[in-house]
């Protein structure tokens, strides 16, 4: 077992454990903050896999922006700070959800394990550096990049239009 694998394993266990707490916890704000831990350790996972730029974007967009949005939404919907049992569905539905979740994990994991389970890869640290990523994005991927910027603008306008105050003046 190499050092990289040990680091990867630790970060992966942290990501999965904090993700589990984020979907099972009974305090909404704590769930959102455990999501920060999960997404942050996934940024570490990306670093171990040699994707520096992706790790930085993950920290900026997910940990920086998305979680703040989630916390704002919790604040604006007057979410309870104290532990609340009403966050979760009834026990029968939770058991069914757990069965479906385990089944999805089993199918995805099993299929991928059969496909790539016995291979090992050499991580090339220079591959995810800013220069090759920029060359790829602003080279062959420039059209999807531009379409995505239009999508972001459309999402921004849609969010504004949906939540606009429609009180007649």
């Amino acid at each position: 077992m190499s050092g990289q694998e040990i680091l990867f394993g630790a970060l992966a266990v942290l990501a999965v454990a904090s993700g589990l707490i984020a979907v099972t916890g009974t305090r909404v704000v704590h769930c959102a903050l455990w999501l920060v831990v999960s997404l942050g350790s996934l940024a570490g996972v990306y670093l171990v896999l040699g994707a520096e730029v992706v790790a930085l974007v993950q920290l900026l967009v997910y940990v920086g922006a998305v979680v703040v949005l989630v916390l704002f939404a919790l604040m604006l919907t007057r979410a309870p700070i104290s532990p609340s049992r009403r966050l979760d569905a009834p026990p029968a539905q939770r058991i069914a959800a757990a069965v479906v979740g385990v089944a999805v994990a089993g199918v995805v994991g099993g299929a991928l394990m059969i496909a790539v389970g016995d291979t090992a890869i050499q991580v090339d640290a220079g591959r995810g550096a800013p220069r090759p990523i920029a060359t790829a994005i602003f080279g062959g991927w420039v059209l999807p990049f531009e379409i995505l910027s239009v999508l972001l603008l459309a999402a921004l306008i849609a969010a504004l239009a949906v939540t606009r105050d429609r009180t007649p003046r």
Binding site: E5, A12, V66, T77, V116, A154, T167
Partner: protein, 139 residues
């Protein structure tokens, strides 16, 4: 060297957790947390795929003699991860706007309390954005 079992198991576990979060939560914001974890499972797989050598899995078993593949054809894995993160940001922005609208219209973000759409609902209003910001319904 990293064995591919690790990333694969991580992605599968995140997908399972995300599905559980989507199905077992009734607070709309917490359902979205499940969706975020599901999107991150995809990202882990894309980044893992981008770490494969040129030519993909086949090149691991049998190094290609044909060098026309280019130096790094799997780099798009990382580019697409960045795109997926962008789409996730757009998605959660619109989704949280809808949750806020739901809260203003029905004074709750509990998805099991919202069983009817439109006029069939007892709390239906013609202009959901109008009126006072509701107090939280104590449960």
């Amino acid at each position: 060297m990293i064995h591919l079992v690790g990333p694969v198991v991580l992605a599968a576990a995140l997908a399972g957790i995300g599905i559980y979060g989507l199905l077992a939560r009734r607070n709309a914001v917490l359902v979205l947390i499940g969706a975020e974890l599901l999107l991150n499972a995809v990202n882990v797989l894309l980044v893992t795929a981008s770490a494969l050598p040129a030519g993909g899995l086949a090149a691991l078993l049998q190094p290609p003699t044909d060098t026309t593949l280019g130096a790094d054809p799997l780099l798009p894995g990382q580019v697409m991860t960045i795109f997926v993160i962008t789409i996730a940001a757009a998605e959660i922005g619109v989704a949280l706007a809808i949750v806020l609208l739901l809260f203003r219209a029905r004074a709750t973000s509990d998805l099991t309390a919202v069983r009817e759409l439109g006029e069939a609902s007892a709390t239906y209003t013609e202009t959901p954005g109008a009126g006072e910001w509701p107090e939280r319904v104590t449960t």
